[in-house]
């Protein structure tokens, strides 16, 4: 027994020594990234998260791609051209786009790419339309507007054409069988509205939009998973939508377990899927017949390693090439031999404090008495502009950036993050902490009644988010400091409870984040300012009424223009209005960083691809 033990120990040590001596760079043909994110799906039409996106981008190609680090310049990908007005491939004032599809491109299974695959892929992304998914991005440009507003789901047209109240009304209960021929015809007609946008002429795919939609090319670019190009034949063989008008609703909004492409792949990208062990790792293998030439590395690996210590040790030992490092641990990887850090990389995302203009007061513990009596706040507390302005001046933006983000963030002056074309660091001027002004506005609000009586309210953050917790604590501290009668409580809630309260409109003030779906200011202006925006629609009836009059027309105007400079002017106008009205508290635009071994070559940063482009890397 003892001899056996000695043998094992000796063998393990010998083995280690052998592996170390094998070379200075471990796994020279392989790049390993260790991170914390999960990969929920490999179906491009489902994917709406960074983890899935990063995996899908290695396997699938889009029509066009960003030019390296740029988010405004494109390069061809599966299209041999990037459409533009000068060469006549964008026509009709931005409503027609012509793509010359690359020839002899092979899918991983050997099938050859055809223009029909391109049309199928984009149409599938629109009809797939899972609730909460990304389909709205393609639905808005590709489906005709209804009553002057963009259509974000194909369901809306089916409902309109059939004259029913909801999509489910079209079907026999519990099934996907249309109740009658009229409804079936309405569904077919709905698909035809989409299908008529596409024309295949020789090797060209021509897309005719029903209205101009300036960010359209951004939506088609590599970085938006749902615009990935699939192999139609392979997809159909595997149980996906067969491409027919009279069946699409059976493949619309599936449950997770009924999505046939969630774990299988067949793209034209530089890597094939070697294996995916869910929740652990995904391994990509070089596709030697890639149209742009094979990748330099043979394997790319993304591993989920939840513990930072483990990731750090793996990096130091060379077992990982690139790791995710939370900001608070940044110092632990600085000045480590053989480790390179790229800091200050602007993320196209912002964190925003949201004022609820009409708080749901029913059974709401967060607004105390629900009255302006010092023991609570009225439900329309934040409908008062002076109150909002007072809070804007209360918050210590620079301290927040310095202490919480370790300086790795900037203070935004509007909803448009730095890096997008409508961003102007001076217009409007960002709010800064000014306690005397805060005092002034608090005194002005409710004709001095608020200042005299004080208030009590509770700020809620989702537990585990240190940045949001600190933001709430800072508000609490400074509110108390300028008036002891201002009582702010701070509580944490699990995401589940937070979501519950958020949906029921009970949160008086909360912090949320937003990241770019595509690098166009519209993607930020719309969710926050439109009366139907993700956040705008939750601010309450007072805001919605105001936004319909003041913000919606400007948003629509911005989308009817083609020239970027003119669009930028509209967005800046909206930003000034939002600033003057103190609609939101813009807290931070985080800066990202990348930590990798110095033997990694070819790494570049593009904020629309927060993951790694394994194709560009070598060791």
């Amino acid at each position: 027994m003892r001899k056996l033990g000695v043998f094992f120990v000796a063998a393990i040590l010998m083995f280690n020594v052998t592996m170390i001596m094998a070379g200075n760079v471990p796994n020279p043909n392989m790049v390993i990234e260790e991170t914390i994110g999960l990969i929920p799906t490999l179906d491009p039409a489902w994917s709406y998260d960074t983890g899935s996106g990063e995996a899908i981008w290695q396997i699938y190609d889009n029509l066009i791609q960003y030019n390296g680090s740029s988010i405004s310049e494109f390069r061809p990908m599966l299209s041999t051209n990037v459409p533009n007005a000068e060469d006549g491939t964008i026509l009709d004032n931005g409503r027609t786009y012509i793509f010359h599809i690359r020839q002899n491109v092979k899918f991983h299974n050997g099938d050859i790419l055809t223009p029909k695959d391109v049309v199928y892929s984009i149409e599938r992304a629109v009809i797939f339309d899972r609730a909460g998914g990304p389909s709205w991005m393609l639905a808005e440009p590709l489906l005709p507007m209804i009553n002057g507003a963009y259509v974000d789901s194909i369901e809306q047209w089916a409902v309109k054409l059939a004259g029913v109240k909801s999509f489910d009304d079209l079907f026999v209960e519990g099934t996907r069988t249309p109740k009658n021929d009229k409804y079936k015809q309405a569904l077919v007609d709905t698909f035809n509205l989409l299908n008529k946008d596409f024309e295949i002429r020789g090797n060209n795919v021509i897309i005719h939009l029903p209205h101009s939609y300036p960010p359209f090319l951004y939506i088609l670019a590599h970085g938006v998973s749902e615009s990935s190009i699939l192999d139609e034949r392979w997809a159909v063989d595997n149980g996906a939508w067969p491409g027919t008008a009279d069946t699409w609703w059976k493949y619309h909004n599936p449950t997770r377990e009924k999505d046939p492409l969630y774990s299988i792949t067949n793209g034209t990208g530089p890597f094939t899927l070697d294996r995916w062990i869910k929740g652990r790792e995904i391994v990509f293998k070089r596709f030697d017949e890639y149209w742009a030439g094979p990748a330099k590395i043979k394997y790319g690996v993304i591993k989920k390693v939840p513990e930072f210590t483990t990731r750090k040790l793996d990096l130091i030992r060379g077992e990982a090439d690139i790791i995710y490092v939370p900001r608070q641990y940044m110092k632990q990887v600085e000045n480590v031999s053989g480790v390179k850090i790229s800091k200050g990389l602007p993320l196209l995302s912002i964190d925003v404090g949201v004022f609820n203009f009409n708080i749901n007061s029913r059974g709401n513990p967060y607004i105390g008495s629900g009255k302006l009596d010092g023991n609570g706040i009225p439900s329309d507390f934040f409908s008062n502009k002076d109150v909002r302005l007072a809070f804007e001046y209360l918050f210590p933006y620079n301290v927040f950036i310095k202490q919480v983000w370790m300086g790795q963030a900037i203070v935004p002056n509007s909803v448009v993050p730095k890096g997008l074309f409508a961003y102007d660091e001076n217009v409007p001027k960002a709010f800064g902490q000014n306690l005397s002004k805060a005092r002034e506005y608090f005194k002005k609000a409710y004709n001095g009644e608020l200042w005299n009586k004080g208030f009590t309210m509770t700020l809620v953050y989702n537990s585990g988010n240190i940045q949001r917790q600190t933001a709430c604590e800072m508000i609490k501290y400074y509110a108390r400091r300028i008036n002891p009668k201002f009582k702010v409580n701070v509580v944490s809630e699990l995401w589940a409870s937070f979501l519950d309260d958020y949906e029921s409109g009970k949160l008086p003030f909360f912090v949320v984040g937003w990241s770019a779906d595509y690098p166009d200011p519209y993607d930020f202006e719309q969710p926050f300012y439109a009366s139907k925006g993700v956040y705008g629609s939750t601010l309450g009836s007072n805001y919605i009424k105001w936004a319909k009059k003041n913000m919606n027309p400007l948003l629509m105007k911005s989308m009817q223009m083609v020239e970027q400079a003119k669009r930028a002017q509209v967005y800046q106008k909206m930003n000034i209005i939002a600033h003057d009205q103190a609609l939101y508290m813009f807290l931070d635009q985080p800066l990202s960083m990348n930590v990798r071994r110095s033997w990694i070559n070819g790494w570049y940063y593009n904020p629309m691809r927060p993951g790694i482009d394994f194709y560009s890397l070598s060791k």
Binding site: F15, G279, R280, V301, E319, A496, D500, W514
Partner: protein, 332 residues
């Protein structure tokens, strides 16, 4: 056993009945960007989250009877598949961990009792105290830091990348899912050694606490045995101390130790949650942690059912072994 399991599942499921559909939907909606108007209600409807508790529980139990544990939201695949893939890894870890617990724990307990109040006994009591005091996550991180970070000997995970390439190749047969065994059966000695190397740290972490526990119990039990009349008789007969301890005292002292060792094996399954997370070990424990973190209640329920089954079977084995060790139980 079915009644116990049914009660267990009912209890866990019962807690979910306190949650509103909007709280349940948080497992499906992980970002505010997925909250476009009406989407949340659509998701609630689609997955039946607004159905009443009894209906949902009945549906789940029906699925369970048919081998369907539900769909893991955190890993996006059937829970049964996740359990099938990960359970062998956890069993492998706990089997490797229980071996030193039984041999070292009992041996040290006997040694401590044999040297009652001597230097060795005092030292071992301190060791036992340390075992109880040091939390698994501290010991785990410490081992990781020293044995991997400083010395570079024992990396985390289940195996190195090169070994994975062999292990997951089509030519490699996964007979049991227990990686070390499969490596041997495939004739891959280097893969076997690599997997073994990766097991050392988690095994040490997992077994340290249990060794301390078993040491204390064996020691107490041995001390009690050594004070019995038959031991005095054995010594009076002139038997050597080794024979007295090993043949007469130890066998009786092992009865409670065996019971506890069996329960420790079951307890270790709970301990794997932290250990597997620290060492990035792909077993059922790290899945449980991930499922709980992401509100994947199908996943949590699946793990609970598996733990329940193992606990019941474990108790049964303990009872049987008790009868083997102590003939009085068999006679009775």
């Amino acid at each position: 056993m079915p009644v116990t399991l049914l009660g267990l599942t009912f209890l866990i499921f019962f807690f979910t009945s306190f949650l509103s559909p909007y709280q349940l939907v948080s497992a499906y909606v992980t970002s505010p960007r997925e909250l476009q108007a009406g989407n949340v209600d659509k998701i609630i409807e689609k997955y039946g989250l607004n159905q009443n508790f009894i209906f949902r529980y009945g549906r789940w139990i029906d699925g369970l009877v048919h081998g369907n544990f539900g769909w893991s939201l955190s890993l996006n695949e059937p829970v049964s598949k996740v359990l099938e893939q990960r359970f062998p890894a956890t069993i492998e870890l706990t089997i490797y961990a229980i071996i030193p617990v039984i041999f070292i724990g009992i041996w040290l307990g006997v040694v401590a009792a044999s040297h009652h109040n001597g230097v060795i006994d005092q030292v071992l009591r301190v060791v036992a105290l340390l075992g109880y005091s040091v939390p698994a996550f501290v010991l785990g991180l410490l081992l990781l830091f020293i044995l991997y970070g400083v010395l570079g000997w024992l990396p985390p995970g289940r195996m190195d990348q090169w070994a994975q390439m062999i292990y997951y190749a089509k030519s490699f047969h996964h007979y049991t899912g227990i990686a070390t065994l499969d490596a041997l059966l495939n004739g891959r000695i280097w893969v076997f050694l690599d997997i073994l190397k990766h097991l050392i740290d988690p095994v040490l972490t997992l077994s340290f606490l249990s060794i301390a526990g078993l040491l204390r119990i064996t020691r107490s039990s041995m001390l009690e045995s050594l004070g019995q009349d038959y031991i005095r008789t054995a010594r009076a007969k002139g038997l050597s101390e080794r024979v007295v301890v090993n043949k007469h005292a130890k066998r009786n002292a092992l009865i409670p130790a065996t019971t506890v060792a069996g329960l420790m094996f079951i307890g270790m399954l709970g301990g794997v949650i932290i250990t597997e997370t620290i060492f990035n070990y792909p077993g059922i424990g790290s899945f449980a942690a991930q499922a709980a973190e992401q509100f994947d209640y199908a996943g949590v329920l699946g793990v609970a059912v598996v733990f329940g089954i193992v606990t019941v079977i474990g108790n049964l084995i303990v009872d049987i072994s008790y009868a083997i060790i102590d003939p009085r139980v068999r006679v009775g």
